[in-house]
Point group: C2
Chain length 246, copies 2
DNA sequence: GGGTTTTTATTGTATAGACAATTAGCCGCT
DNA sequence: AGCGGCTAATTGTCTATACAATAAAAACCC
């Protein structure tokens, strides 16, 4: 019951605790170790490789702080369930945010197609013009009212499965959380007046203030997905809290 | 040349590294140790109290990750300059954000008064109705264009100096960064249509989309300040990036 | 004085060993 | 089967020591 000791390959670059972190983090991000997988115990590390337990402990502790692992005394160390990532990420996942507020969540997919990247999108995603993308447009409702119109483009080079995913019942946000968890994200927020076209889609009056959240998700330097999320300003707000831990 | 060894008092509650963290964090937040102050070296800790260096190291390392300290080999450990706190906090400090974009920053104070808390504000700040507050309203310009109208209320119980601060040339944002650094913050963002009154203040047309950022700043459970920052939607956007470190 | 080398204080990382705290799983009893 | 107590696996913390890496300060040389 070694839990995958042989998977771990150190690369000899830099501090040992960092090598361990990279090795494990790679196994998780690549999907080789799935959520719930149990890692070797600290003492198994020290036996099979010649590394002090304190060093292993530091690596595992830091990965736990990063949210990739969960640890429990006597039980062991496990790959975390990415269902509860940093609260901030959930801002954009309406499928979980709306039920959390006690409202009834609804979803409809309007467009789902594979296209070559249009110029503007290619620039946002730092991709060569014409790269194959999955393009999805859908809307999210809470208690019947539209709260978000989502336009999304997914990089098929990094996530080819997206071309055949079924977005008719589950939104791309939720799908991506399962397919490509543990990524970095960049948000830009702005306010615009609804165009007649947007007003029609969102069920508001033309000229109404809309809150626009643009989100780019990275794996390293590569953009996995670009999303443009439009909310009726009056029906939605986003809150987050942060600060020094201690 | 002990750098304040005698200031440190452990309370005996919980793990030793945590006691050290609390002690140091308290000295910094209370202002007893100011930015730039040099802490005792790790070996001074181990000499004056009987604690292993690894334990001290863990405490100082974690406080450094929290941004309270900066460390440099051979030079020592110092209380951090709060001028460069989490990048996200600077979103709201126009005085530094605008020059960083190469534009000319301008500022004008419109209102600066001491008042009893109005009902709505008291609720936002979790204070009893009528608590004494400093109320400031001012506007920020970039290259002559208005980019932010700031309404701010400061809790005079926690920051009595605010009643006599000079907000005619320096905005409350910058002032607070110096007076009460290392706090927690909570942001809420939404979009509204400009009322005639707001349009007049911001120099936009009535009905234009505005981006509203509300910010509460905490020390523990107490609200230090509440700010309502209104931006012309088209002239401003905010970006942040985050994710698992590794 | 101005540059270069050497020293040295300080943090960063790694090791080995110890005990504490937690708790899953087993055993035995009813 | 259910309950209670024991055992042991695993993480959490602490100590003591060692060496490496960095960079400030001192020493040196021209």
């Amino acid at each position: 019951m070694r839990g995958g000791m042989d998977d771990i390959q150190l690369d000899g670059e830099g501090p040992v605790y960092d090598q361990i972190k990279r090795a494990i983090s790679g196994l998780i991000r690549s999907g080789h170790w799935k959520p719930g997988h149990r890692l070797p115990s600290e003492s198994e590390f020290t036996e099979h490789m010649s590394i002090a337990r304190m060093t292993v402990n530091r690596a595992l502790k830091e990965l736990t702080e990063d949210g990739l692992l969960v640890r429990k005394r006597r039980a062991g160390t496990f790959v975390a369930q990415p269902d509860a990532p940093a609260a901030i990420l959930q801002i954009v996942d309406m499928a979980s945010a709306i039920p959390a507020r006690g409202e009834v969540y609804g979803y409809r997919c309007e467009i789902n197609e594979t296209i070559p990247a249009p110029d503007a999108i290619a620039r946002h995603m730092r991709l060569p013009f014409g790269t194959r993308l999955q393009h999805v447009e859908c809307l999210h409702t809470a208690d019947g009212k539209i709260v978000e119109y989502e336009q999304r483009w997914i990089n098929l080079n990094l996530l080819p499965e997206a071309a055949h995913a079924d977005f008719s019942t589950v939104g791309p946000g939720s799908w991506l959380l399962r397919a490509a968890p543990w990524t970095e994200a960049e948000h830009t927020v702005s306010a615009i007046n609804a165009s007649p076209e947007q007003a029609r889609r969102l069920g508001t009056a033309p000229g109404d203030a809309l809150l626009v959240l643009e989100r780019r998700t990275f794996q390293g330097d590569d953009v996995v997905t670009y999303a443009r999320l439009v909310h009726p300003g009056s029906r939605h707000s986003m809150t987050e809290r942060f600060g020094p831990g201690a």
